[in-house]
Subunit: 334 residues, 2 copies
Amino acid sequence: MTSPVGLHRVLAPAGVLPQAAQRLDVRPEVGADEVRIAVERLNLDAASFRQLWEKHGGDGAAVRAEVLEIVARRGKMHNPVTGSGGMLIGTVDEVGPESPLGLKPGDRVATLVSLTLTPLHISQTSWDGRGEQVPCVGHAILFARSVAAVLPDDLDPRLALAVLDVCGAPALTARVVRAGAAVAVLGAAGKSGSLSLAAARAAGAARTTGVVRDEAEAALLRGAGLADRVVVADARDPVAVAAAVGEPVDVTVVCVDVPGCEHGAILATAAGGTVVFFSMATSFAAAALGAEGLAADVTMLVGNGYVPGHAGYALDLVREVPGVRRLFAGRLGT
Amino acid sequence: MTSPVGLHRVLAPAGVLPQAAQRLDVRPEVGADEVRIAVERLNLDAASFRQLWEKHGGDGAAVRAEVLEIVARRGKMHNPVTGSGGMLIGTVDEVGPESPLGLKPGDRVATLVSLTLTPLHISQTSWDGRGEQVPCVGHAILFARSVAAVLPDDLDPRLALAVLDVCGAPALTARVVRAGAAVAVLGAAGKSGSLSLAAARAAGAARTTGVVRDEAEAALLRGAGLADRVVVADARDPVAVAAAVGEPVDVTVVCVDVPGCEHGAILATAAGGTVVFFSMATSFAAAALGAEGLAADVTMLVGNGYVPGHAGYALDLVREVPGVRRLFAGRLGT
């Protein structure tokens, strides 16, 4: 019997959910409520790719070898250091008779649940290890309680994949931002950052500040017209972030995929405000103890990647906000 | 010139806040807005003590040696593995002329900012390394933006210290719980757990469930009368937690100081509900990816140890709810 959350695919240790598992069962036969995807491409989580890239000093072959080793050993792409994965794109190959996901064979889909809990087998790849997108051949399994989005016809699949990978961020930002709020986004020229800025404005933010790491990013973001103000600061330097943001804001959104950004976000946020952490490099203890140590009365949210309607919301932002689309296109080289 | 958040006490690395520092300056001379405390006792964070205890296989002398080594090397009690510290009790020794904390020499106080950012020097201790409370002689420094509570006359200082150590939990629980809500607390017979249960009921929760790890804890909690229902489950086993809680609740409060409790809390919480993580053993990535992987539309809060009025609120709960006081007294052996 299969479990809607995939317990039957956990090989070790016994009784944990697939995300917590050391190893998953990648057998291609689908259970009654499962779906098998013929994989085309992985999109590695930015924090995960950065960690691997830095560990191997920019040696693409070594990055590639480690990713393939992880997938072969664990039956999923789950970076043991960052704890993060990414997502994938592919074509529906077989649908169990009781799957509730509404997919049919031939649908081109992106999975919106993390690779850290998705059974995955890679049989071959032409990837050079030098970027987050991993073209490959293989298969993956979806459970009854997985989430997948059929790729839209009107957007380049690489663009759609990059947007869907971070689609929880704009949806949650839109939920948190009240009309008239002042909002700061750290890492504002990146994928989740630019979408979050657009979402904040769509939700009625009165004042948006984009914080970026250097002048090149600042020029990109100014060109996109997504923020009322663009400032440069190292997000790991709390004093610099607070000075750059100026008057503390109601909502701070953290989209910088490097460790050590918790304190700057807290210092930049007004008493009674909210910090939303989307970076997988966030340290729970640094956030909790940082706010306490600064006597900062701020609400801190763990950025949940699932918000109902998140995929459609993010794709609509890309369709309707030219600045977001330009930033994504620039990053993807499309 | 001194900084209200203590930047002037950071020795390495340069430019970070005291909590992120490797090493703090413990010189006893106070700056214009600083306060020096003559230390009597530390209360180590539960996750930190547990990690040290398990690492050294219950060898108190080794635990003691490592704590003293950390404090001597870092100028603060900051466990490098758990990232957590604890708090301390002492008597105000000297107050800089510009300190805004309202303290005066001779006040008996507890610090409500973490030991991970408090300059601390220990000159001697009679501690045997076998419990979280560390009697010692030494000094500590408070900054302008620190928080300290004068100890109440009507409560045993050990009881007050234990309550103040976790006083953020009941205050934040009271803020999150709406009248009529169903609330589950994981680790409900512990210090922050029992206070959170009492806070949930005081905030108008219609149904409270206490989840504990074994029958002994269950008997304790039933005797205290703090929960409408007491159930036994291993908080690290998501399936067991969800089964024990039954119908998903509006608010789940996590007070279990062991890793791996994120998924059970998420599974136990209804769509649209809230999970509050108070345990320093919480993994940010496990929470974020767990909710996403379970397609769980839940709001997840990082338990901020600072909420205005938290100390008075928690002490009042202990005064007014006999069950809470009995549980604390039992744990402290008073």
